[in-house]
Symmetry: C2
Subunit: 300 residues, 2 copies
Amino acid sequence: MSSNADTVPVFHTVSELRSWRSDQRKQGKTVGLVPTMGALHNGHLTLVSAAQQSCDTTVVSIFVNPAQFAPHEDLDQYPRTLPQDIQKIAETQANCVVFAPLVSEMYPNGITTDRSKQKGTFVEVLGLSEMLEGGSRPHFFRGVATVVSKLFHIVMPEMAFFGQKDVQQCCVIKNLVADLLFPIKLNIVPTVRDPVDGLALSSRNVYLTEEQRAKAPALYRGLCAAQKLYSQGITGREELIGAVAAEAAQENLDIEYICLSSPDTLEELDSVPSSGAILSSAWRMGKTRLIDNVLIGFEF
Amino acid sequence: MSSNADTVPVFHTVSELRSWRSDQRKQGKTVGLVPTMGALHNGHLTLVSAAQQSCDTTVVSIFVNPAQFAPHEDLDQYPRTLPQDIQKIAETQANCVVFAPLVSEMYPNGITTDRSKQKGTFVEVLGLSEMLEGGSRPHFFRGVATVVSKLFHIVMPEMAFFGQKDVQQCCVIKNLVADLLFPIKLNIVPTVRDPVDGLALSSRNVYLTEEQRAKAPALYRGLCAAQKLYSQGITGREELIGAVAAEAAQENLDIEYICLSSPDTLEELDSVPSSGAILSSAWRMGKTRLIDNVLIGFEF
């Protein structure tokens, strides 16, 4: 264990974390888990704050998980800012510890981003992992479900906190927990946005040029326009997706998909049923790929 | 919960088992898990006895897991003998409870044996699940790894006990526990055999006709002959496998495979290295498929 000036304990090994966890259990303390890949922003800190409200102590895990990157993706370039992350957590004054393991702790037998060569144990949520983000990132949700399962086994939290920004991840984890009977309560926290223009906070926003950053909020304007249409009684797929596409077109955004999906199965919908829908999109700005979503007619 | 005359508590739901487990934790009791598909014989009872020696209390799970059967296999015919199983556990006088869940408890969203139609969360140990038993039963180890993960999450045992008879299963579970960082110690217990002719005990032995039963021990005689050769300094694949094949041929057994494999990777070996090898076989007697193995030059 190492500790910084602001006394947030930082654990780097599974055995250190387990020993700490065992003490917490003996003291009857409940533990929340906020899994992150670091490069923390206010979105993450909102998750920490939500955990703080429900649990005695919170584990913030910081681990850039190789298994959820493809060979051509930004694993090496992904921002790694551990000292600043620890500082930000310290400033929340929450009762936190940081778990920042090496890759060798999480993948004792190693891990390659080449999915065809991966060996060892993997967890997969069939039926939810192939569409939307899974379309262009077929490795992604297997990597997420696997690393989250490992974190659950290490931390054994009573509750775990995920951001709605990664809405498909929320659906996948919800099914993971239910199907594998993890004794863990999930808490899905609304997306945190730029207070001025509404762009969803993302660690990848740092990749954007000034010009790209100025255009990016058009997508969220489109999602809000679709929400407004729904509030006026319009439920059709074409109208709602069209509203997003129209705003995106104004800034000439390079759209990968705009989908209206079932919150349970992620299957595409022709219209919003009484159980609600997810309206989500992915788009590219130069080499950067961004995602966003709104919930239509339901809440998690 | 139901309870029989001999006072072995029997739980049928996840929530009942969890509530009991929570009490055990409060009392500071360690819990062992013996996962079974029922139709208990002395092999299973030896696992119970091993658990009893290491843990304060033992959960014997009895669940015929649909996900590890293929559509053409014996899921419907697999022997289900819960009252007799409970009676046998009671007679061990061990400090046990039985967990006998319905399929709907273990697979809340249902389960089909048609692998191509399976939805939901599955756990797979890549690289160990495709050979040996995985060759003719490609669905098998995904089903095993998935149900064992669920049982681990429900029971949260300190230790789990598996029989060496299902040796590839032991290798798969060993990797599952290591890779997914389950906080569980594995204990692999030597195969229990008929005291007269050495046939490995198996729930499927009840399918054998008298004539088949008389011929079946030839395979184990072959495995012993190979072990004897190894003790005489012979390490070559052809000689060791040949010794098994020769005994099997005497009884005209319908051999599916005889393999000399690495205990770590299950890859086929040309000879037994210093780290040892597994010599294993599967064969058919009418509609019944049997397996057996010996360890050469190592112990689990």
